[in-house]
Symmetry: C2
Subunit: 387 residues, 2 copies
């Protein structure tokens, strides 16, 4: 098996088309409407937010049965908390698409009616045979600073298939702008259940391992569309390629978190159980005190230790070892910080990316979660009054 990184995103697999344009939702003229579609009907695998107030496109998609030809995506309006009118709006939009069996995905302001006619105006202007994955990846952005896409060609015993993907920003992003969205396309050939299992399996170490602000949106959605056009499938190869793609996009989302200046991997090692490692790693990646210390490049291991202690997992101060950016600062009950290590750890924290490792030494289970620092820019973005 060989997994080759190739250029592009959702249009890389055979038979997929995509594009983006400004239909008028974003008043600055930036692209705000995207489509992706396949020339052949697709098996759909999907994952949605577990927020009880799931938005209209999720309720519409959950009611859909059978194959899917594509997805229409708008930014700037989440179409959430809009009641039955929200569902009607989705139905009108997908009815205006010149293909059947389309789904929708929305991201943006919660509680504002979806401007259906504006979106339909954009739908009429699309060139549905365009293969501009870049333009689609840009159109789904909200406060993202850059578009996020990736594609792999996978060579396995049975032949070659391709997988492409794009995603947009994590967290609840800007004022009332919600959502993480991710779209995956592939020409690999398998049944719906196989793709859903691959998708579920890849989440734990990608999108479920990241945190920007710990808030869960009403709109989080992942769609995987598989048209089978390559005629090729090998479970192990597909799994590996999908995991690489989702891991890459998940980390891109953290790197591009609101106001983030650093991508931090929090590894909790040698815990008594996987769930305990996961709980502590996630608490580290969401602790305000840890996040602000990282922003200040302060190798403040007391906050890290206190967060581990607060996680209500099996641990012992006498067996715990903490390292920051490769520098051991606390080792099995002993504070190892001296001037030299203090400076080395502070220097490591000034890098764009580094690891914080907590070795509990009470078991054999590990988990890594990914987070970012929290600084003034986060406050500025999120405290600004909606305009």
């Amino acid at each position: 098996m060989e997994i080759l990184s190739i250029g592009g995103g959702v249009c890389a697999p055979k038979g997929f088309f995509a594009d983006g344009l400004n239909c008028g939702l974003k008043v600055n003229g930036a692209a705000d409407l995207a489509f992706m579609r396949s020339s052949a009907p697709c098996n759909l695998a999907a994952v949605f937010t577990s927020n009880r107030f799931a938005c209209a496109h999720i309720r519409h998609a959950k009611a859909h049965k059978g194959k899917v030809n594509g997805v229409i995506v708008n930014s700037k309006n989440a179409n959430a908390m809009n009641g039955s009118e929200g569902i009607t709006a989705v139905e009108k939009v997908v009815a205006a698409v010149p293909f059947e069996n389309f789904l929708m995905a929305s991201t943006g302001v919660i509680g504002a009616p979806l401007p259906v006619e504006t979106i339909i105006g954009g739908i009429r202007r699309f060139d549905w045979n365009a293969a501009c994955g870049d333009a689609a990846a840009k159109a789904i952005m909200t406060t993202d600073r850059w578009e996020k896409q990736i594609a792999f060609e996978v060579r396995c015993d049975g032949g070659t298939f391709t997988i492409g993907a794009m995603a947009k920003g994590a967290g609840m992003i800007a004022p009332q702008l919600a959502t993480m969205l991710c779209f995956i396309t592939t020409d690999a050939a398998a049944n719906q259940e196989a793709f859903q299992a691959h998708l579920n399996g890849a989440l734990d170490e990608s999108f479920n391992a990241i945190s920007v602000d710990g808030d869960m949106s009403t709109n989080d959605t992942i769609y995987l569309l598989a048209n089978g056009a390559s005629g090729v499938y090998e479970a192990e190869a597909f799994d590996a390629a999908l995991r690489r793609a989702l891991h890459f996009l998940a980390l891109e989302i953290v790197r591009d978190g609101e106001g983030a200046t650093k991508l931090v991997a929090f590894e909790v090692k040698n815990a008594a159980a996987k769930e305990e490692a996961k709980k502590a790693a996630r608490m580290l990646s969401t602790s305000l005190l840890v996040k602000t210390a990282l922003f200040g490049a302060d190798p403040n291991w007391g906050r890290i230790a206190s967060t581990i202690g607060a996680a209500q997992i099996e641990c012992d101060a006498e067996s715990l070892t903490i390292s920051i950016g490769g520098v051991t600062v606390y080792e099995q009950g002993i504070n190892r910080m001296d001037r030299e290590r203090e400076e080395a750890a502070a220097a490591a924290l000034r890098a764009e990316s580094f690891r914080v490792v907590c070795d509990l030494a009470v078991g054999a289970h590990s988990y890594t979660s990914y987070g970012c620092d929290l600084g003034h820019e986060y406050v500025r973005i999120n405290a600004d009054y909606r305009t």
Copy 2:
């Protein structure tokens, strides 16, 4: 029964003494060491952090049996993550106090050795017959902006007793400075079990209902010392006075939270269960997106709704009603925001204190949690490198 607010704090009840001074831990000369003691041995009720890495004074106090004569308190050093040397340090400090059966409480930097000799120097300078509750309340402060104390005289059928209390800042406060500490004194006469039950019962709507940053310190401690000097006790009256005292101090701590400009009550009404109301109320008070919106005086109800939806409790968008500062912004599935309400809600958010009410309308259980906004000052305080 009559509960009268009187001046003072821990020295208000009969037979209690307290004072504070600078022993040299704070280099700026501010008070950093306090004692409180009773002329007669006290029943002790106590509550400690559930952090697995509880600090040395907590491990020392948990091992103590029987009555207590007083407490010695230092700020600036948490004596946490110091292993067995931390316990030895506590033992040396209490041995230097000229009274037996003293406990200790510490707050400050995690992982630095406790300067035992410096503290003993301060102990030698104390006037142990001073009754300066103010000085003690100041000496236990870390980044608190003001001292927090209260006292009530309680008149009941059997006579009169008094309750006094002081507390210091919530959250993990400044870099590596940990802890909420609260000290309660009373001359009411009851057994230890009765006081412990009163204390446990009063927590749910006071210290367990507040959040500054959602982080749990290694040092959080509440001590209640009861010397029985009044000879009076009435359970209902004591309970009412204790609840009022702790509720007041808990809210003071939030008002004085790091960088906080607003005290916000988050009420979740008519939930299916008390635990569900509590879960949602606490999530509201700790959501970064809600806290930053409040800082920006942005009546951004979408973030509030999304947080309720993320709480995984019984709720329905069609029955939910949200009001901000008395202004109904979302009512049973309908966005009620218009220009007038937008302005009224924004004006309410500019007040120093207001309520956010979420009526789930699915049951009959309610809970109110108290939190504060999160702005640039929080980031400044917590990102500053330790100096």
